[in-house]
Protein backbone atom coordinates (compact mmCIF):
# COMPACT_ATOMS: atom_id res chain seq x y z
CA UNK A 1 0.00 0.00 0.00
CA UNK A 2 2.89 2.32 0.78
CA UNK A 3 4.16 1.75 -2.77
CA UNK A 4 0.71 2.49 -4.13
CA UNK A 5 0.62 5.63 -2.09
CA UNK A 6 3.96 6.82 -3.47
CA UNK A 7 2.77 5.99 -6.96
CA UNK A 8 -0.39 7.97 -6.41
CA UNK A 9 1.59 11.08 -5.59
CA UNK A 10 4.34 10.66 -8.19
CA UNK A 11 2.40 9.29 -11.16
CA UNK A 12 -1.23 10.25 -10.67
CA UNK A 13 -0.98 13.73 -9.22
CA UNK A 14 -2.89 12.73 -6.12
CA UNK A 15 -2.10 16.00 -4.38
CA UNK A 16 -4.27 17.70 -6.98
CA UNK A 17 -7.14 15.36 -6.05
CA UNK A 18 -6.66 16.17 -2.40
CA UNK A 19 -6.61 19.89 -3.09
CA UNK A 20 -9.77 19.64 -5.20
CA UNK A 21 -11.61 17.76 -2.47
CA UNK A 22 -10.53 20.17 0.23
CA UNK A 23 -11.55 23.10 -1.93
CA UNK A 24 -15.02 21.63 -2.50
CA UNK A 25 -15.57 20.89 1.15
CA UNK A 26 -14.51 24.35 2.19
CA UNK A 27 -16.51 26.13 -0.51
CA UNK A 28 -19.71 24.25 0.28
CA UNK A 29 -19.21 24.43 4.00
CA UNK A 30 -18.34 28.13 4.12
CA UNK A 31 -21.23 29.00 1.83
CA UNK A 32 -23.60 26.99 4.02
CA UNK A 33 -22.24 28.61 7.19
CA UNK A 34 -22.55 32.12 5.81
CA UNK A 35 -26.21 31.58 5.09
CA UNK A 36 -27.17 29.21 7.89
CA UNK A 37 -25.57 30.90 10.91
CA UNK A 38 -27.35 34.27 10.52
CA UNK A 39 -30.59 32.45 9.70
CA UNK A 40 -30.22 30.23 12.75
CA UNK A 41 -29.51 33.24 14.96
CA UNK A 42 -32.59 35.00 13.61
CA UNK A 43 -34.69 31.91 14.30
CA UNK A 44 -33.30 31.52 17.80
CA UNK A 45 -33.74 35.17 18.65
CA UNK A 46 -37.18 35.81 17.17
CA UNK A 47 -40.08 33.48 17.79
CA UNK A 48 -41.85 34.77 14.68
CA UNK A 49 -38.99 33.92 12.34
CA UNK A 50 -38.69 30.52 13.97
CA UNK A 51 -42.40 29.72 13.59
CA UNK A 52 -42.18 30.76 9.94
CA UNK A 53 -39.06 28.83 8.94
CA UNK A 54 -38.95 25.88 11.30
CA UNK A 55 -41.33 23.53 9.45
CA UNK A 56 -39.55 24.10 6.17
CA UNK A 57 -36.06 23.69 7.58
CA UNK A 58 -37.03 20.61 9.60
CA UNK A 59 -38.43 19.03 6.46
CA UNK A 60 -35.32 19.80 4.44
CA UNK A 61 -33.05 18.53 7.16
CA UNK A 62 -34.26 14.99 6.58
CA UNK A 63 -33.64 15.07 2.84
CA UNK A 64 -30.48 13.04 2.23
CA UNK A 65 -27.91 15.17 0.45
CA UNK A 66 -26.80 12.21 -1.65
CA UNK A 67 -30.30 11.82 -3.07
CA UNK A 68 -29.91 15.24 -4.63
CA UNK A 69 -26.86 14.23 -6.64
CA UNK A 70 -28.76 12.95 -9.71
CA UNK A 71 -30.96 16.02 -9.64
CA UNK A 72 -28.03 18.36 -9.23
CA UNK A 73 -26.18 16.71 -12.09
CA UNK A 74 -29.18 17.41 -14.29
CA UNK A 75 -29.47 20.99 -13.12
CA UNK A 76 -25.91 22.02 -12.41
CA UNK A 77 -23.96 19.62 -14.58
CA UNK A 78 -21.02 17.61 -13.36
CA UNK A 79 -18.81 20.60 -12.68
CA UNK A 80 -17.67 22.10 -9.42
CA UNK A 81 -20.97 23.79 -8.73
CA UNK A 82 -22.71 20.44 -8.39
CA UNK A 83 -20.21 19.14 -5.81
CA UNK A 84 -20.31 22.33 -3.82
CA UNK A 85 -24.11 22.27 -3.85
CA UNK A 86 -24.24 18.73 -2.49
CA UNK A 87 -22.18 19.82 0.49
CA UNK A 88 -24.19 23.00 0.82
CA UNK A 89 -27.50 21.11 0.91
CA UNK A 90 -26.11 18.57 3.31
CA UNK A 91 -24.86 21.19 5.76
CA UNK A 92 -27.08 24.24 5.58
CA UNK A 93 -30.26 22.92 7.19
CA UNK A 94 -28.40 21.11 9.93
CA UNK A 95 -26.53 24.27 10.86
CA UNK A 96 -29.68 26.42 10.81
CA UNK A 97 -31.56 24.18 13.20
CA UNK A 98 -28.72 23.54 15.60
CA UNK A 99 -27.77 27.21 15.77
CA UNK A 100 -31.41 28.16 16.31
CA UNK A 101 -31.71 25.74 19.21
CA UNK A 102 -28.49 26.96 20.81
CA UNK A 103 -29.35 30.65 20.47
CA UNK A 104 -32.88 29.98 21.71
CA UNK A 105 -31.46 28.32 24.81
CA UNK A 106 -29.64 31.51 25.88
CA UNK A 107 -29.65 32.14 29.62
CA UNK A 108 -32.78 34.13 30.41
CA UNK A 109 -31.26 35.85 33.41
CA UNK A 110 -28.46 37.28 31.26
CA UNK A 111 -31.00 38.63 28.80
CA UNK A 112 -32.95 40.20 31.66
CA UNK A 113 -29.80 41.67 33.17
CA UNK A 114 -28.97 43.25 29.82
CA UNK A 115 -32.47 44.72 29.60
CA UNK A 116 -32.12 46.31 33.05
CA UNK A 117 -28.83 47.80 31.86
CA UNK A 118 -30.70 49.58 29.11
CA UNK A 119 -30.03 47.26 26.17
CA UNK A 120 -32.42 47.49 23.23
CA UNK A 121 -33.64 44.29 21.52
CA UNK A 122 -30.97 44.70 18.83
CA UNK A 123 -28.35 45.10 21.55
CA UNK A 124 -29.59 41.91 23.21
CA UNK A 125 -29.04 39.96 19.99
CA UNK A 126 -25.67 41.53 19.23
CA UNK A 127 -24.18 41.67 22.67
CA UNK A 128 -25.85 38.88 24.62
CA UNK A 129 -27.30 36.18 22.38
CA UNK A 130 -24.53 36.03 19.78
CA UNK A 131 -21.50 36.21 22.10
CA UNK A 132 -23.17 33.79 24.51
CA UNK A 133 -23.89 31.26 21.79
CA UNK A 134 -20.65 31.76 19.85
CA UNK A 135 -18.62 28.92 21.41
CA UNK A 136 -21.45 26.48 20.85
CA UNK A 137 -21.98 27.71 17.29
CA UNK A 138 -18.28 27.10 16.65
CA UNK A 139 -18.68 23.58 17.99
CA UNK A 140 -21.68 23.02 15.73
CA UNK A 141 -19.64 24.16 12.74
CA UNK A 142 -16.84 21.80 13.70
CA UNK A 143 -19.31 18.92 13.86
CA UNK A 144 -20.93 19.77 10.54
CA UNK A 145 -17.56 20.15 8.83
CA UNK A 146 -17.02 16.49 9.69
CA UNK A 147 -20.29 15.59 7.96
CA UNK A 148 -19.41 17.73 4.97
CA UNK A 149 -16.41 15.46 4.41
CA UNK A 150 -18.64 12.44 4.05
CA UNK A 151 -20.87 14.24 1.53
CA UNK A 152 -18.00 15.34 -0.66
CA UNK A 153 -16.75 11.82 -1.16
CA UNK A 154 -20.22 10.65 -2.13
CA UNK A 155 -20.50 13.57 -4.54
CA UNK A 156 -17.17 12.67 -6.08
CA UNK A 157 -18.03 9.00 -6.52
CA UNK A 158 -20.55 9.98 -9.15
CA UNK A 159 -19.76 12.05 -12.24
CA UNK A 160 -16.41 13.42 -11.24
CA UNK A 161 -13.03 13.76 -12.91
CA UNK A 162 -10.96 14.72 -9.91
CA UNK A 163 -10.91 14.46 -6.12
CA UNK A 164 -10.24 11.73 -3.60
CA UNK A 165 -13.64 10.13 -4.25
CA UNK A 166 -12.90 10.03 -7.95
CA UNK A 167 -9.55 8.35 -7.31
CA UNK A 168 -11.31 5.74 -5.19
CA UNK A 169 -13.81 4.90 -7.98
CA UNK A 170 -10.99 4.71 -10.50
CA UNK A 171 -9.02 2.39 -8.26
CA UNK A 172 -12.09 0.22 -7.81
CA UNK A 173 -12.29 -0.28 -11.56
CA UNK A 174 -8.64 -1.33 -11.54
CA UNK A 175 -9.15 -3.56 -8.48
CA UNK A 176 -6.43 -1.58 -6.72
CA UNK A 177 -7.44 -2.04 -3.09
CA UNK A 178 -4.20 -0.51 -1.85
CA UNK A 179 -5.07 2.84 -3.40
CA UNK A 180 -8.64 2.68 -2.15
CA UNK A 181 -7.51 2.05 1.41
CA UNK A 182 -4.90 4.79 1.18
CA UNK A 183 -7.58 7.19 -0.09
CA UNK A 184 -9.77 6.39 2.89
CA UNK A 185 -6.87 6.88 5.28
CA UNK A 186 -6.06 10.25 3.69
CA UNK A 187 -9.67 11.36 4.22
CA UNK A 188 -9.45 10.35 7.85
CA UNK A 189 -6.16 12.16 8.33
CA UNK A 190 -7.41 15.38 6.78
CA UNK A 191 -10.53 15.16 8.92
CA UNK A 192 -8.41 14.66 12.01
CA UNK A 193 -6.15 17.61 11.22
CA UNK A 194 -9.03 19.95 10.40
CA UNK A 195 -10.83 18.90 13.56
CA UNK A 196 -7.77 19.60 15.69
CA UNK A 197 -7.26 22.96 14.00
CA UNK A 198 -10.91 23.86 14.52
CA UNK A 199 -10.79 22.82 18.16
CA UNK A 200 -7.62 24.82 18.79
CA UNK A 201 -9.15 27.85 17.11
CA UNK A 202 -12.32 27.59 19.19
CA UNK A 203 -10.33 27.33 22.39
CA UNK A 204 -8.34 30.38 21.42
CA UNK A 205 -11.31 32.46 20.36
CA UNK A 206 -13.51 31.50 23.27
CA UNK A 207 -11.07 31.10 26.10
CA UNK A 208 -13.70 32.34 28.55
CA UNK A 209 -15.98 29.36 27.99
CA UNK A 210 -13.39 26.78 28.97
CA UNK A 211 -12.09 28.57 32.07
Amino acid sequence: MVQEAILLFTEFNFSHDIAMTIWRVLAGFILASLIAVPLGIAMGAHKGVEAFLEPFVSFCRYLPASAFIPLLILWAGIGELQKVLVIFIGSVFQIVLMVAVCVGAARRDLVEAAYTLGAAPSGIVKRVLIPGAAPEIAEILRLVLGWAWTYVIVAELIGSSSGIGHMITDSQALLNTGQIIFGIIVIGLIGLVSDFAFKALNRRLFAWSSL
Binding site: D109, L110, E112, A113, A114, Y115, T116, L117, R127, A134
Partner: protein, 260 residues
Amino acid sequence: MSSQLSIQGVSRVFTSPKGQATQALTPVDFEVCENDFVTILGPSGCGKSTLLRIVAGLDQPTTGQVLLDGVPVQGPGADRGMVFQSYTLFPWLNVEQNIRFGLRERGMPENEQKERSDDFIAKVGLRGFEQHFPKQLSGGMQQRTAIARALANDPKILLMDEPFGALDNQTRVLMQELLLGIWESAQKTVLFVTHDIDEAIFMANRVAVFSARPGRIKTELAVDFPHPRHYTIKTSPEFMALKAQLTEEIRAEAMATDTH
Protein backbone atom coordinates in the same frame (compact mmCIF):
# COMPACT_ATOMS: atom_id res chain seq x y z
CA MET B 1 -38.69 63.88 50.77
CA SER B 2 -40.99 63.30 47.87
CA SER B 3 -42.06 59.92 46.62
CA GLN B 4 -39.95 58.75 43.70
CA LEU B 5 -41.32 55.28 43.13
CA SER B 6 -45.02 54.74 43.41
CA ILE B 7 -46.52 51.26 43.32
CA GLN B 8 -50.26 51.58 42.85
CA GLY B 9 -52.61 48.64 43.25
CA VAL B 10 -50.15 46.25 41.67
CA SER B 11 -51.27 42.63 41.67
CA ARG B 12 -50.12 39.61 39.74
CA VAL B 13 -51.94 36.43 38.85
CA PHE B 14 -49.97 33.66 37.20
CA THR B 15 -51.89 31.33 34.94
CA SER B 16 -50.50 27.85 34.42
CA PRO B 17 -50.66 26.25 30.96
CA LYS B 18 -53.62 24.21 32.24
CA GLY B 19 -55.46 27.42 33.01
CA GLN B 20 -55.06 27.24 36.76
CA ALA B 21 -54.66 30.70 38.27
CA THR B 22 -52.34 31.46 41.17
CA GLN B 23 -52.50 34.81 42.87
CA ALA B 24 -48.91 35.78 43.60
CA LEU B 25 -49.61 39.34 44.68
CA THR B 26 -52.75 40.90 46.05
CA PRO B 27 -52.98 44.59 45.14
CA VAL B 28 -49.99 46.35 46.69
CA ASP B 29 -49.70 50.08 47.30
CA PHE B 30 -46.28 51.32 48.23
CA GLU B 31 -44.25 54.49 48.01
CA VAL B 32 -40.48 54.84 48.04
CA CYS B 33 -38.88 58.23 48.58
CA GLU B 34 -35.82 59.50 46.81
CA ASN B 35 -32.53 58.28 48.30
CA ASP B 36 -34.36 55.99 50.66
CA PHE B 37 -33.13 52.47 51.42
CA VAL B 38 -36.13 50.18 51.74
CA THR B 39 -35.96 46.44 52.32
CA ILE B 40 -38.81 44.10 51.54
CA LEU B 41 -38.75 41.22 53.96
CA GLY B 42 -40.80 38.10 53.55
CA PRO B 43 -40.79 34.32 53.57
CA SER B 44 -39.70 32.60 50.38
CA GLY B 45 -42.36 32.30 47.72
CA CYS B 46 -44.37 35.23 49.06
CA GLY B 47 -44.26 37.25 45.85
CA LYS B 48 -41.70 39.85 46.93
CA SER B 49 -39.43 39.04 44.01
CA THR B 50 -42.43 39.22 41.68
CA LEU B 51 -43.08 42.75 42.89
CA LEU B 52 -39.45 43.70 42.28
CA ARG B 53 -39.55 42.21 38.78
CA ILE B 54 -42.67 44.23 38.04
CA VAL B 55 -40.90 47.40 39.17
CA ALA B 56 -37.96 46.44 36.95
CA GLY B 57 -40.36 45.98 34.05
CA LEU B 58 -39.35 42.35 33.58
CA ASP B 59 -42.86 41.22 34.49
CA GLN B 60 -46.22 42.86 33.82
CA PRO B 61 -48.71 43.46 36.62
CA THR B 62 -52.17 41.94 36.22
CA THR B 63 -53.69 45.10 37.69
CA GLY B 64 -52.30 48.44 38.80
CA GLN B 65 -49.24 50.34 37.72
CA VAL B 66 -45.78 51.42 38.78
CA LEU B 67 -44.73 55.05 38.46
CA LEU B 68 -41.14 56.22 38.54
CA ASP B 69 -40.95 59.98 38.90
CA GLY B 70 -44.57 60.05 37.81
CA VAL B 71 -43.94 58.14 34.60
CA PRO B 72 -45.56 54.70 34.23
CA VAL B 73 -43.14 51.80 33.87
CA GLN B 74 -43.69 50.07 30.53
CA GLY B 75 -40.76 47.71 30.36
CA PRO B 76 -37.21 47.28 31.57
CA GLY B 77 -34.93 50.29 31.29
CA ALA B 78 -31.62 51.73 32.38
CA ASP B 79 -33.29 54.01 34.93
CA ARG B 80 -33.97 50.96 37.13
CA GLY B 81 -30.77 49.02 37.74
CA MET B 82 -31.06 45.50 39.03
CA VAL B 83 -28.84 43.07 40.88
CA PHE B 84 -30.07 39.49 40.79
CA GLN B 85 -29.61 36.65 43.21
CA SER B 86 -28.15 34.42 40.51
CA TYR B 87 -24.81 35.35 39.02
CA THR B 88 -25.67 37.31 35.92
CA LEU B 89 -22.33 38.69 34.80
CA PHE B 90 -21.74 38.09 31.11
CA PRO B 91 -19.24 35.22 31.15
CA TRP B 92 -17.57 36.31 27.90
CA LEU B 93 -16.74 39.78 29.26
CA ASN B 94 -14.13 40.54 31.90
CA VAL B 95 -14.90 42.58 35.01
CA GLU B 96 -14.25 45.91 33.35
CA GLN B 97 -16.20 45.07 30.20
CA ASN B 98 -19.10 43.86 32.32
CA ILE B 99 -19.20 47.14 34.21
CA ARG B 100 -19.03 49.06 30.94
CA PHE B 101 -21.85 47.08 29.33
CA GLY B 102 -24.62 49.58 29.99
CA LEU B 103 -22.38 52.57 29.30
CA ARG B 104 -21.36 51.15 25.95
CA GLU B 105 -24.95 50.33 25.10
CA ARG B 106 -25.73 53.99 25.72
CA GLY B 107 -22.93 55.11 23.42
CA MET B 108 -20.84 56.84 26.06
CA PRO B 109 -17.37 57.87 24.82
CA GLU B 110 -14.60 55.33 25.54
CA ASN B 111 -12.60 57.49 27.94
CA GLU B 112 -15.69 58.35 29.99
CA GLN B 113 -16.61 54.67 30.16
CA LYS B 114 -13.13 53.86 31.38
CA GLU B 115 -13.23 56.60 33.98
CA ARG B 116 -16.57 55.49 35.36
CA SER B 117 -15.69 51.82 35.43
CA ASP B 118 -12.37 52.53 37.16
CA ASP B 119 -14.22 54.58 39.72
CA PHE B 120 -16.70 51.81 40.52
CA ILE B 121 -14.08 49.07 40.41
CA ALA B 122 -12.31 50.97 43.16
CA LYS B 123 -15.55 51.46 45.10
CA VAL B 124 -16.31 47.75 45.21
CA GLY B 125 -12.69 46.88 45.92
CA LEU B 126 -11.89 45.02 42.72
CA ARG B 127 -8.71 46.84 41.70
CA GLY B 128 -6.36 44.38 40.06
CA PHE B 129 -9.22 42.16 38.88
CA GLU B 130 -10.28 44.29 35.91
CA GLN B 131 -9.14 41.70 33.38
CA HIS B 132 -10.54 38.67 35.20
CA PHE B 133 -13.45 36.76 33.75
CA PRO B 134 -16.48 35.99 35.94
CA LYS B 135 -15.57 32.31 36.20
CA GLN B 136 -12.26 33.31 37.77
CA LEU B 137 -14.00 35.21 40.57
CA SER B 138 -15.56 34.09 43.85
CA GLY B 139 -19.31 34.51 44.34
CA GLY B 140 -18.81 37.62 46.45
CA MET B 141 -16.57 39.24 43.85
CA GLN B 142 -19.07 38.44 41.13
CA GLN B 143 -21.84 40.14 43.07
CA ARG B 144 -19.60 43.12 43.75
CA THR B 145 -19.04 43.40 40.03
CA ALA B 146 -22.78 43.12 39.46
CA ILE B 147 -23.38 45.96 41.93
CA ALA B 148 -20.72 48.09 40.24
CA ARG B 149 -22.25 47.28 36.85
CA ALA B 150 -25.69 48.40 38.00
CA LEU B 151 -24.41 51.54 39.75
CA ALA B 152 -22.06 52.62 36.95
CA ASN B 153 -25.15 52.95 34.80
CA ASP B 154 -26.37 55.61 37.26
CA PRO B 155 -29.97 54.37 37.60
CA LYS B 156 -32.58 56.40 39.45
CA ILE B 157 -33.30 53.40 41.62
CA LEU B 158 -31.36 50.26 42.40
CA LEU B 159 -33.41 47.07 42.66
CA MET B 160 -31.80 44.19 44.50
CA ASP B 161 -33.33 40.74 44.51
CA GLU B 162 -31.66 38.85 47.37
CA PRO B 163 -28.28 39.77 45.92
CA PHE B 164 -26.35 38.12 48.74
CA GLY B 165 -28.63 35.11 49.06
CA ALA B 166 -26.18 32.70 47.45
CA LEU B 167 -23.16 33.83 49.47
CA ASP B 168 -21.77 32.32 52.63
CA ASN B 169 -22.54 34.11 55.85
CA GLN B 170 -19.19 35.87 56.36
CA THR B 171 -19.10 37.15 52.80
CA ARG B 172 -22.69 38.25 53.06
CA VAL B 173 -22.00 40.37 56.14
CA LEU B 174 -19.04 42.04 54.42
CA MET B 175 -21.11 42.68 51.32
CA GLN B 176 -23.83 44.32 53.40
CA GLU B 177 -21.28 46.70 54.89
CA LEU B 178 -19.80 47.41 51.47
CA LEU B 179 -23.17 48.21 49.94
CA LEU B 180 -24.25 50.31 52.88
CA GLY B 181 -20.96 52.22 52.69
CA ILE B 182 -21.54 52.95 49.02
CA TRP B 183 -25.10 54.02 49.72
CA GLU B 184 -24.02 56.30 52.54
CA SER B 185 -21.44 58.05 50.38
CA ALA B 186 -23.42 58.22 47.13
CA GLN B 187 -27.09 58.67 47.82
CA LYS B 188 -29.30 56.39 45.78
CA THR B 189 -32.81 54.99 46.07
CA VAL B 190 -32.60 51.29 46.85
CA LEU B 191 -35.32 48.66 46.96
CA PHE B 192 -33.83 45.54 48.46
CA VAL B 193 -35.61 42.18 48.70
CA THR B 194 -34.45 39.68 51.30
CA HIS B 195 -35.65 36.92 53.60
CA ASP B 196 -32.83 37.58 56.07
CA ILE B 197 -34.10 39.58 59.04
CA ASP B 198 -30.67 40.86 60.16
CA GLU B 199 -29.95 42.01 56.65
CA ALA B 200 -33.33 43.71 56.33
CA ILE B 201 -32.83 45.74 59.49
CA PHE B 202 -29.14 46.51 59.11
CA MET B 203 -29.44 47.88 55.60
CA ALA B 204 -32.75 49.70 55.69
CA ASN B 205 -34.30 52.95 56.72
CA ARG B 206 -37.63 51.23 56.34
CA VAL B 207 -38.59 47.55 56.33
CA ALA B 208 -41.74 46.40 54.55
CA VAL B 209 -42.87 42.98 55.74
CA PHE B 210 -44.59 40.83 53.18
CA SER B 211 -47.31 38.36 54.03
CA ALA B 212 -47.35 34.77 52.85
CA ARG B 213 -48.66 34.13 49.35
CA PRO B 214 -50.70 35.77 48.01
CA GLY B 215 -48.30 38.54 48.93
CA ARG B 216 -49.20 41.91 50.31
CA ILE B 217 -47.41 44.36 52.54
CA LYS B 218 -48.37 43.46 56.06
CA THR B 219 -46.38 45.90 58.19
CA GLU B 220 -44.00 48.74 57.64
CA LEU B 221 -41.34 49.54 60.12
CA ALA B 222 -38.99 52.50 60.29
CA VAL B 223 -35.38 51.75 61.25
CA ASP B 224 -33.91 54.83 62.86
CA PHE B 225 -30.29 53.85 63.46
CA PRO B 226 -28.07 56.71 62.42
CA HIS B 227 -25.68 56.50 59.47
CA PRO B 228 -22.92 55.57 58.98
CA ARG B 229 -23.80 52.28 60.56
CA HIS B 230 -21.26 49.98 62.03
CA TYR B 231 -21.77 46.20 62.13
CA THR B 232 -21.68 46.35 65.94
CA ILE B 233 -25.21 47.77 65.97
CA LYS B 234 -26.36 44.26 65.13
CA THR B 235 -25.79 43.33 68.76
CA SER B 236 -27.34 46.46 70.27
CA PRO B 237 -30.54 46.09 72.36
CA GLU B 238 -32.51 48.28 69.95
CA PHE B 239 -31.52 46.07 67.03
CA MET B 240 -32.43 42.98 69.01
CA ALA B 241 -35.84 44.40 69.87
CA LEU B 242 -36.56 45.13 66.21
CA LYS B 243 -35.32 41.72 65.25
CA ALA B 244 -37.56 40.04 67.83
CA GLN B 245 -40.54 41.94 66.52
CA LEU B 246 -39.83 41.09 62.89
CA THR B 247 -39.06 37.48 63.75
CA GLU B 248 -42.56 37.14 65.17
CA GLU B 249 -44.10 38.71 62.06
CA ILE B 250 -42.16 36.51 59.68
CA ARG B 251 -42.71 33.39 61.70
CA ALA B 252 -46.45 33.77 61.50
CA GLU B 253 -46.21 34.20 57.74
CA ALA B 254 -43.81 31.32 57.25
CA MET B 255 -46.18 29.06 59.15
CA ALA B 256 -49.07 30.28 57.06
CA THR B 257 -47.11 29.41 53.91
CA ASP B 258 -46.32 26.00 55.30
CA THR B 259 -49.90 25.04 55.93
CA HIS B 260 -51.03 26.09 52.45
